[in-house]
Assembly symmetry: C2
Homo-oligomer: 118 residues x 2
Amino acid sequence: MATPRIDVADSVVSCCSPLGDSELSEAEAVETAMIFGALSDPVRLRMLSLIASQGEVCSCALEGPLGKSQPTISHHTRILNEAGLIEGEKRGRWMWWHVVPEQLNQVARILAAGLPTT
Amino acid sequence: MATPRIDVADSVVSCCSPLGDSELSEAEAVETAMIFGALSDPVRLRMLSLIASQGEVCSCALEGPLGKSQPTISHHTRILNEAGLIEGEKRGRWMWWHVVPEQLNQVARILAAGLPTT
DNA sequence: CCGTCATATTGATAACTGTCAATGTTAAAG
DNA sequence: CTTTAACATTGACAGTTATCAATATGACGG
């Protein structure tokens, strides 16, 4: 797979019923759990933070600050990408990553709605 | 049992800097990752959904719908509780669980803020 | 074409996680 | 006190995950 799946036309959380509305279906639960799983690692959170705060970041610029090897960085960017949280574009030899605000908002909405009244 | 009253004293995500603001510290990242980890399991998400939609739920009422054994249910409620997402109260022999809206909102805010300040 | 640089992939390994049977604990009931 | 019901805890096992060394791919500069 030389080309990372950087198309988020279909957000991974497509319809995403909020937690409190109705009962979460098994399929939705698995789908949503996958996304939270991508967020459940300290390295990936700091990675996401770095990318979010800088707008666009090259993979090579993550290795240093995160203190991880190149394969490990590649591994984590892949997971964040597959969760629809970041997208990448290859320019020359460099891979540039940026966050997907829609997806972050979508996930946030799932949580924010998971309450009784509001 | 309509509106669960919450007396959550200290949210687990106490200060929780949003993703996009500054760089996430290692400690904050570990703390936040732990919470997302609690949300990264399909069974726990459906559990949270059940509790959220019913306001208050007994542990015994989770075993059936989730199709898991009693120790497994206990294991998951513990993890959600340690993440500050639910709170429990023992009344007689039954353990009653309710969600902690503040914590859900807090986590949601971390995500929603991780964007280019739209 | 050759060497170099940035990234992806593979393989191996240690650590973590979800699951249940068995057992412990505590509170209501008889 | 004894029994029973609801949860918690422990122990074991299978599946998953994070990590890095080694290697492959692919683009740029000579």
